[in-house]
Amino acid sequence: MVRDLVIESTALTKAYGPHVALDSLDIKIEQGSTGLLGPNGAGKSTFLKTILGLIQLTSGEGKVLGYDIRTQGDQIRQRIGYMPEYDALNPGMEAIHQVRYSGELIGMNPNIALQRAHQALEYVGLGEQRYRQVSTFSTGMKQATKLACALIHDPQLIIADEPSNGLDAQARNFMLTTLDTTVKQGQRSVLMASHLMDDVERVCDNIVLLHKGKLAAQGKIEDLKAIDREVEIHVWGSASKMEETLSDRGMKVRREGRVMRIGHTGEETYNQILEAAADVGTQVRRMHDHEASLEDLFLVIMERLGHDVKSSDDLLRDIV
């Protein structure tokens, strides 16, 4: 099923003098939840500023919710909710008024903004704390308040920059659940920039991976995991001979005792393994696909990219 694109860019490039921060990005982000990944200096912040329509492009073009990022920044920012990574709250204000004011800055009527602020704070779990000053809040409560500020006008797209930054396990769990609920129950789109692969994997269906300003990979997490797909087998007897035979047949094998992981190259992989076992006379007591975590995937992609990123097409071509 092809869903509407919330963000799309074509050859989007941003350079600061000789330094190219974003290099010819062709990105398509569908409705739903998407993780924006990349190591430090990958260009995530520049990309976020670009799609918010805050900085001028060097070349290329892009659209957010159908609006041109070069000329319609105001319309874009009115329709998205941005949750910054760092503190963006006035510590002397009560949470309810902080959220209300952020709604007024979008253009909401003050009375309606106050009403929505109550709803938004209730939604993020701060219903009982809404009249407390932000300075008395814990990090988790501040993060939740920032999310309420982003959600007050019921935006079509929420951009959450490191939403679980500095949170303990319970607060992190609640934050991720809230984002997930916003996507599934609220039918809103979330673009979540994070260093934490587990968080992204829990909330997002898709990822966009940037590296040194270039697009390293984008697509569904499940599809991208195929890059690092392996078949895990548990053998009994002649394990080293089995490993040797598999390697002789051109298969990529990693072995730890009686457990082996063999690179998945297609549906014929299973038969090849069984044939090798029959030849060697080894019992295969268990065989199943090994599902890589997003972190494994990230490391594999980074390893393959090395210091010279080409494009995600090249990356995938090398693997299959």
């Binding site: 918010l52 941005y82 760092y86 006035n90 204000m93 008024h97 800055l105 909401m108 003050p110 609920t181």
Partner: protein, 349 residues
């Protein structure tokens, strides 16, 4: 508890307790509320049912959509202005600290001493004292541009307290992201902040000036001839109040924009205003040259205002030099402000 039981109930059930209270039961801190809620008119024993284990989910997360209409740009700017100005009087807006609010209140009261004294001596019919305090060219100039106490103790200090955290705190707290990730551009942000400070100063300086002038007309029953005679002076003085508010705000906000705290912009503004004047007055006293007063924002504005209102000139150099100085000082301050506001970040500060 056996293993089987522990599988069925993951935690110990709370046993329902029944406690009784009689007339002789001592009311301790622990049972006071229970005794009170179960008090009857007769002497019969009352029972209190102690709540057992709470069940069910109290918090239910439900996403509530909103399909309202968003207001245009002027309404967003109005929100910024209201946020800063109303914060002086009401909760829920910009949290100005108590000393700032108290000092503004004090300055408003102190700025009206001429109003009170003029009315007092006018009403008791003391003509010689009324002439000293009543509305005239010099007194109107003095209301806005008088150095002591107004332009050493009142207006610069109010300006310093107002501009202190105006932009610097947005930089320190990261609240600039709240503005720029919304459809607020940097011009609107800076201009509304500027207008907020300038308006508060304007209300203090020109508001009390207007009160001084119109109270004199109403209470002393001034005639049309007097009004026609003095109204141009009032307008000129009013304009001087605007120039003074603008200049103090421009310098103060530019200092606020290059800082991350309250102290530096506040002390910086007072230091610039007082330091330049002190230096110029020393040079004037030593070498009898008043031209260095052009570097003093207060003196430059005062000189222009003397020319506008038509009071006696206290500077030797041409007033046009001071006018140029006012334009240059404000231009530089606004350039610095614009430059620094454009560097405020959204994603990281």
């Amino acid at each position: 508890m056996t293993d089987e039981e522990s599988l069925e109930t993951p935690f110990d059930p709370v046993v329902s307790k029944e406690e009784s209270f009689g007339a002789e039961t001592p009311v301790t801190g622990k049972t006071k509320m229970q005794a009170a809620w179960s008090a009857d008119s007769d002497d019969s024993n009352s029972t209190a049912q102690v709540a057992s284990m709470s069940q069910g989910q109290i918090f239910q997360q439900i996403y509530q959509p909103w399909e309202g209409t968003l207001n245009p740009r002027w309404m967003r700017n109005w929100a910024i202005l209201r946020h800063h100005v109303l914060g002086i009087f009401r909760k829920g807006h910009r949290p100005w600290n108590i000393p700032t609010k108290l000092f503004i209140f004090f300055v408003i009261i102190a700025s009206m001493t001429d109003v009170a004294l003029a009315l007092l001596f006018g009403m008791i019919g003391e003509a010689s004292l009324y002439d000293i305090w009543g509305v005239n060219r010099d007194n109107m100039y003095g209301h806005v541009m008088g150095f002591f106490p107004r332009n050493i103790l009142y207006y610069p200090i109010v300006a310093a307290l107002l501009v202190g955290g105006m932009i610097s705190e947005d930089r320190a707290h990261g609240t600039s992201a709240m503005y720029f990730s919304r459809p607020i551009n940097r011009f609107d942000y800076a201009s509304m902040k500027f207008l907020s400070v300038a308006l508060i100063l304007f209300f203090i300086i020109d508001g009390t000036l207007a009160l001084y002038y119109f109270a004199d007309i109403l209470v002393m029953g001034k005639g049309w001839a007097w009004i026609i005679d003095t109204f141009p002076m009032f307008i000129a003085t009013f304009l001087c109040g605007i120039i003074l508010s603008f200049t103090y705000t421009a310098i103060g906000l530019s200092l606020s924009s290059i800082s991350r705290g309250r102290f530096f912009p506040a002390i910086g503004l007072v230091a610039i205003l007082m330091g330049t004047r002190a230096m110029a007055s020393i040079i004037d006293a030593l070498f009898d040259k008043s031209v260095l007063y052009v570097i003093s924002p207060y003196d430059a504005v005062a000189h222009v205002c003397q020319a506008l209102i038509g009071t006696e000139m206290t500077y030797d150099h041409p007033w046009v030099w001071s006018l140029i100085s006012v334009i240059v000082i404000n231009g530089l301050a606004i350039y610095l402000l614009a430059n620094r506001v454009s560097s405020l970040e959204v994603t990281r500060e």
